[in-house]
Symmetry: C2
Subunit: 506 residues, 2 copies
């Protein structure tokens, strides 16, 4: 056995389980429910899925795949396009599987990322025949050490009948010790989650499993697919500045201190850019308590702005992968990866009082947010953890540019075509045009602020026209709408490739 | 002093604060933010609000009113109609204030009932100038004992500048001891809520306040406005039976036991009737952990089915008021009233694994639920705690008759006109037509079940027609919709007083 493998395989009785990827892939049966490690392209199994892709060239079979969140191309592109996936949950982001979902070839179950573990416990997800789990090592006492994400792996490992380990020796050994694995017991019999500070560890460094469940170990050296983050531009910088000014006004009002509260920032370029904005600010000793640690978090650690960062996944660019994973010792005492059930748990989020920053796909004048569906029908990405955070955070902030497609689309519409976050869960909205603080406001108060502060000038007159006519038509009701027109901006877009229209002079 | 009052006023230094309702009402200033006790017509202040109504006959003034939930007619009818209320939160149900809201005379801030306390802590609700608080007694050591609800009174009392107590001697003294007041500390500094079982007490029997804040004590003998519950009918009985059979199938699947899990049941006749269905069932040793205890809960205690019931309010019919409050000793060890921040806390709901049953106003074929807005514009009731429970419960169940207005309206529509609970939060739907278990299903799987099992036969062909054409038009996308038609059932209703239309023969 390769000495690098021997070093990582502490539990020696498992040595005879080491097989090829093809042999491991052959264990999976048609119709199986398969759990996989991985969260936003980090810590996912890679070589066994590619062996499944190969196998699918000569064999028809379909499986259901549940993961932490989106995976790299091995599953969410190649395996999806090979027609192997019948059902997929709980999050996707790759255009490969997205196309399969939107053409009816894959059933996609979009879900709050904190919900999956309870569904596994109840057997709604399952029975899980196999878990394919990427590991840094298996310790002498049988702990499986995850790699760059934890996701749902601990709960999958508890409930899966069988486990295939992808022992990935390309991940640094110094990952051992950064995980903090805590799994609540059954509902009605569990204790409070003992976390009162994101910085303090509450669990084990690895996942305890019954070694008898481990049916195969496959050695891998494939790195994580890097994140595809777009660098900040002038408009995301404007949004970051607006948000920093908002935090300053909150400090002035006595509601926050210079340390703010633990920060959660969603996946994506805008949220990442907004976080980047802290680098040259006066804020300090910041704590990140998020799902995913993107590039910005490591830049802020380097800049001495972030003192600790907890999440369930590290998803960074190729450049930063080299820097961080080549010097993980430098970051190790400032990092912690937890199961997504913990990072996204309402109990933890509300107790710690997180500030949550997520990206909206579109939003409406009353503060409802669509995070998932293009024109109400086609899945873009899943809802991910945005609902876990927005509902329970101290401050639920949504960011989006006010326009898309070169100005043909207004990101703010009269009525969203799909609702992921209701008016009850959205505290603050930021576009490059301005900020709307919706807390404590009634729907009509919100509408005036959102239209005035956040809508792009090209759409403002058209929006005021809709709103004013809706107030008139409904006798100034709680939430004025003209149902015949509420979705007409989307209809116009489908027909004329633009949301712009002549404003009727009523 | 009346000996009955003297007996209830343990802290003797407060004796000189006893004043008339008019004198207390005169303390309230124009523009004040006023907190009030009360939750779904229970435990609300009554005589001071009526004195405000009187005062408004000769004086123009407006105040913002925040409460636990809906109040009796003194505030939500008479004071609303007197034009005194500028803004109101977080829940309403009276047609008096509803009309004021829907004609633009009152700003209504609809909110999750677990969210208010955090907003008070942050100063978003506030500064609270006065809290008007109905009390059973004030103890020697200065604890204010609430009456038939707790609601937001503890957090209001902590943050209010001044307190007016309505000492209501018509409530039985045996209410002393049934409250369980626990208030979390500031976010980021608080401990876990130490509740692992709804049955065990975690707090004090009353609300600790600084006596210096108490500026007036007004004696009252006004009873709570009784609940206006409609008795079960054949269709609600059918729905109850469907739900009981569903629980039986869950037991068979090993997911529940005969004791089920703690039950939450929303306000309203349908939810009450469904709960009544347990009376003649084989289920036993049930625990209720809800917002409001309605008539059904007491009937189930009498029947030996419910062993303990915790909530934040007791809202019962006139008949039952006499029976329960005349013999409270009999129920006292089986009852507990907690702050709504605790009864509705995501931390508690998810830890205990509640089964949650709430009423939908309308729902759509993908499982989105509207709880609040008639045709997307006019407020009916608020969202209340339905979101707190549905999102975090082990089982989030929504019940509704499949039709309304004698059959002119289908309660299930292609797209809801307002979303309060998204597809991510709705587990099971029950109408008198049947049940749809949506757990683990993708949108198109849900649609087929909901249309087949739950839609009224009068609307089924029309719904299949919409759905099939939507699948076709979108190339079988994740969530098929035809945006031009998605709200056309509501438009048709407004124009033709019915949602029924000719099905196009495509």
């Amino acid at each position: 056995m390769d000495s690098r493998v021997e070093k990582r395989l502490g539990l020696k009785e498992l040595a005879d389980k080491v097989v090829s990827a093809d042999q491991a892939a052959a264990l999976i049966g048609d119709g199986d429910v398969v759990g996989m490690s991985g969260f936003t392209r980090a810590g996912d199994a890679k070589v066994v899925p590619m062996a499944l892709v190969e196998r699918a060239k000569n064999e028809n079979f379909k499986i259901d795949i549940y993961t932490g969140a989106s995976l790299g191309p091995e599953v969410d592109k190649y395996l999806a396009e090979a027609g192997v996936i019948r059902k997929r949950g709980p999050f996707i982001a790759d255009s490969g599987i997205r196309n399969q979902i939107n053409s009816g070839n894959v059933y996609y179950v979009d879900a709050h990322l904190s919900h999956n573990a309870e569904l596994v416990r109840q057997g709604i997800i399952g029975p899980i025949k196999y878990l394919i789990l990427e590991a840094t090592a298996i310790t002498e006492d049988g702990l499986i050490i995850p790699t760059t994400s934890v996701g749902n792996s601990p709960i999958f490992a508890e409930y899966a009948e069988n486990i295939i380990v992808e022992l990935n020796i390309s991940h640094p050994e110094s990952l051992i010790g950064i995980h903090d694995i805590y799994v609540p017991g059954p509902q009605g019999q569990r204790e409070p989650i003992p976390m009162t500070d994101a910085v303090k560890r509450i669990g084990e460094i690895g996942i305890k499993v019954d070694p008898a469940k481990i049916k195969a170990i496959v050695v891998s050296e494939e790195p994580d697919a890097p994140s595809l983050i777009v660098p900040p531009d002038e408009e995301t910088q404007t949004m970051a500045n607006l948000l920093l000014d908002f935090f300053r006004s909150e400090i002035k009002a006595g509601r926050l201190t210079n340390k703010l509260m633990p920060l959660q920032s969603g996946v994506g370029s805008v949220a990442n850019a907004v976080l980047d904005g802290f680098a040259n600010s006066e804020f300090e000793d910041l704590v990140v308590a998020s799902e995913v640690l993107q590039d910005a978090v490591f830049n802020l650690i380097d800049a001495g702005k972030v003192s600790f960062a907890a999440a369930t996944s590290i998803t960074i660019s190729e450049e930063l992968q080299k820097k961080v994973y080549g010097n993980l010792e430098k970051y190790a005492d400032k990092l912690c990866l937890r199961p997504q059930e913990i990072s996204n748990h309402p109990e933890v989020i509300r107790r710690l009082g997180l500030i949550s920053i997520n990206t909206a796909l579109e939003l409406d004048i009353y503060g409802n947010v669509n995070s998932t569906h293009v024109s109400g029908t086609k899945m873009m990405n899943g809802i991910g953890g945005s609902g876990d955070f927005a509902r329970n955070a101290r401050l639920g902030i949504f960011v989006t540019k006010s326009y898309a497609k070169g100005g043909a689309i207004s990101s703010i519409v009269p009525m969203v075509s799909h609702v992921d976050h209701t008016e009850h869960d959205v505290d603050v909205i930021v576009t490059e045009q301005g900020i709307a603080d919706l807390r404590g406001l009634a729907p009509k108060e919100r509408a005036v602020l959102i239209i005035e502060n956040c809508v792009h000038p090209d759409f403002k007159e058209q929006m005021w026209d809709y709103y004013n006519r809706a107030v008139e038509a409904t006798g100034n009701a709680q939430t004025p709408h003209i149902l015949e027109e509420a979705l007409s901006w989307h209809v116009n877009l489908a027909k004329n490739k633009t949301m712009k229209k002549e404003v009727s002079k009523a």
